[in-house]
């Protein structure tokens, strides 16, 4: 790939992550009841405020793991967005886009738990272990949900899955898989009903002991992950770049932003669910439904 198009692609990915982060932060704040103008200007003012704030540490924190994990949430979101095909172009060409997207969201497990552990404080530990419990609940439905579009398109390549939806988008006949995927996105983005690891009632959980630039990148990473998850849903369930009038890359951007806005707004409106409340339905209701969905897809393909 020529140098200039790699740079252009990287710049496009970074701009996309920035836009998605902003949309997520605004949507979540509006869902929680904040007005549009306040919600849209908050992220910029918060950025200025946190850049000016000093960093802090706790007694005997494991600084290496703590800082590494906090600063890795945003790069993970960037890598997820880099996997998304913008029509015919893709920044990271791979035949296994689905598997790599899944691998990246599993690395979030490590990042969030280490973020809680590294601070050597009660709030962080409680948040980190809550996250692991939730992750055990949402990850299997998420993985089974990723199987459905891959089966229907007979490929693990995100570009080919997007192309296979030229007559009918997968979201129409795989709604359960789409729902399980969105629950998974809320889970690894720590938003909405699955935001217990960063809950106010545990003083911010894994984010409790962070300040200044560390808090900024951790919060931005959290919002960016929701946007990135929504962006990956575009080729998986929403037809990729297909659509009238506009070129493919524009449609990918439009769909990603609309899905991010809707998802973050819904996440802002819903209360945080206590972890024991979620695990039962996740294993006993959601997982069998997603497996049934996969069965339906398999039968349709026969």
């Amino acid at each position: 790939m020529p140098e200039s198009s790699v740079l252009l692609g990287a710049a496009a990915v970074l701009a996309a992550v920035l836009a998605l982060t902003w949309v997520t932060a605004t949507g979540a704040a509006m869902g929680a009841g904040r007005g549009l103008v306040l919600a849209a200007t908050d992220p910029w003012l918060e950025t200025a405020r946190l850049l000016r704030q000093r960093r802090r540490t706790t007694l005997r924190a494991d600084v290496l793991l703590w800082r590494l994990s906090g600063w890795s949430l945003l790069p993970l979101a960037v890598l997820l967005v880099a996997l998304v095909p913008w029509g015919p172009h893709v920044v990271v060409p791979t035949e296994l886009g689905v598997v790599w997207a899944n691998a990246l969201d599993v690395v979030v497990w490590a990042a969030v738990w280490l973020l809680g552990w590294g601070a050597n404080a009660v709030a962080g530990l409680v948040g980190g272990y809550r996250f692991l419990a939730l992750a055990l609940g949402y990850e299997l439905p998420l993985m089974f949900a990723l199987v459905a579009p891959a089966m229907a398109a007979s490929s693990l390549d995100l570009a080919m899955i997007a192309d296979a939806q030229s007559d009918l988008w997968f979201v129409v006949w795989m709604p359960v898989a789409f729902l399980a995927y969105l629950v998974g996105v809320l889970g690894f983005a720590l938003h909405g009903p699955l935001a217990a690891p960063v809950g106010d009632e545990v003083a911010g959980g894994v984010l409790a002991e962070l300040s200044g630039p560390d808090l900024l990148v951790a919060r931005a990473g959290r919002h960016a992950l929701l946007g990135a998850g929504a962006a990956v849903a575009v080729p998986l369930f929403l037809g990729g770049g297909s659509g009238p009038w506009l070129p493919d890359p524009a449609w990918v951007a439009v769909k990603a932003i609309i899905l991010t806005a809707l998802l973050s707004y819904a996440a802002g409106r819903l209360p945080r669910l206590r972890v024991p409340l979620l695990l039962g339905p996740a294993w006993v209701v959601l997982l069998p439904l997603v497996v049934l969905q996969d069965l339906v897809v398999g039968v349709v393909l026969l």
Partner: protein, 184 residues
């Protein structure tokens, strides 16, 4: 030395170094994630063998497993997050002897066995070929083994659990507020 060779040696050194780090570092979390790094480096080396699916899945599964290991850390070992000198080794003379012997055996096997020459070329879609080889004739085994493994894990946890949902919610599973009160 091609770039593949360079990448291989980097992954190999990283895998061995982080494997050693597991026993040298001062905290359970660092030991766990040093092990995860070692596995990830191995997965990346598998990518160099053109087995992209296996490499990606190795990375995915190992990171998830290390995260779950953190849960077991709480159950079975002291979980002091602060960095404290701790010893990760038990009966280390025996262990060193056995591991050196195993390494020499496997390594000499890898170096001294006459490897066959390649016949033909790899199929165009390596992942599909791998899937077919694993699943086609062994589909029934794979399905059964997977289901049996999950059932075993679930049953093992249920059997070893002190309090089940009947203890918490009452015999007819009706009580809304789980009676989890108090220590034993």
């Amino acid at each position: 030395m091609t770039s593949t060779d360079l990448a291989f040696w980097l992954c190999a050194v990283l895998a061995v170094a982080s494997g050693v780090a597991v026993f040298v570092v001062d905290s359970m979390a660092r030991a766990t994630y040093a092990l995860a790094t070692s596995f990830v480096a191995t997965g990346l080396a598998v990518l160099l063998l053109q087995q992209s699916y296996l490499g990606a899945v190795i990375v995915l599964m190992m990171v998830m497993e290390m995260a779950v290991m953190a849960v077991y850390m709480v159950m079975f070992m002291g979980m002091n997050p602060a960095l404290m000198p701790m010893s990760m080794v038990h009966s280390h003379r025996w262990a060193i002897g056995v591991s050196v012997a195993t390494f020499v055996t496997l390594g000499s096997g890898a170096l001294l066995v006459p490897w066959p020459a390649r016949r033909g070329s790899p199929p165009p879609d390596v992942t599909a070929a791998l899937g077919r080889a694993l699943m086609e004739s062994h589909m029934l085994v794979m399905m059964t083994v997977g289901a049996v493994m999950v059932a075993t894990i679930v049953v093992g946890v249920v059997l070893s659990s002190h309090r089940t949902r009947y203890d918490r919610f009452g015999d007819d599973l009706r009580h809304r507020d789980p009676a989890d009160r108090g220590a034993r």
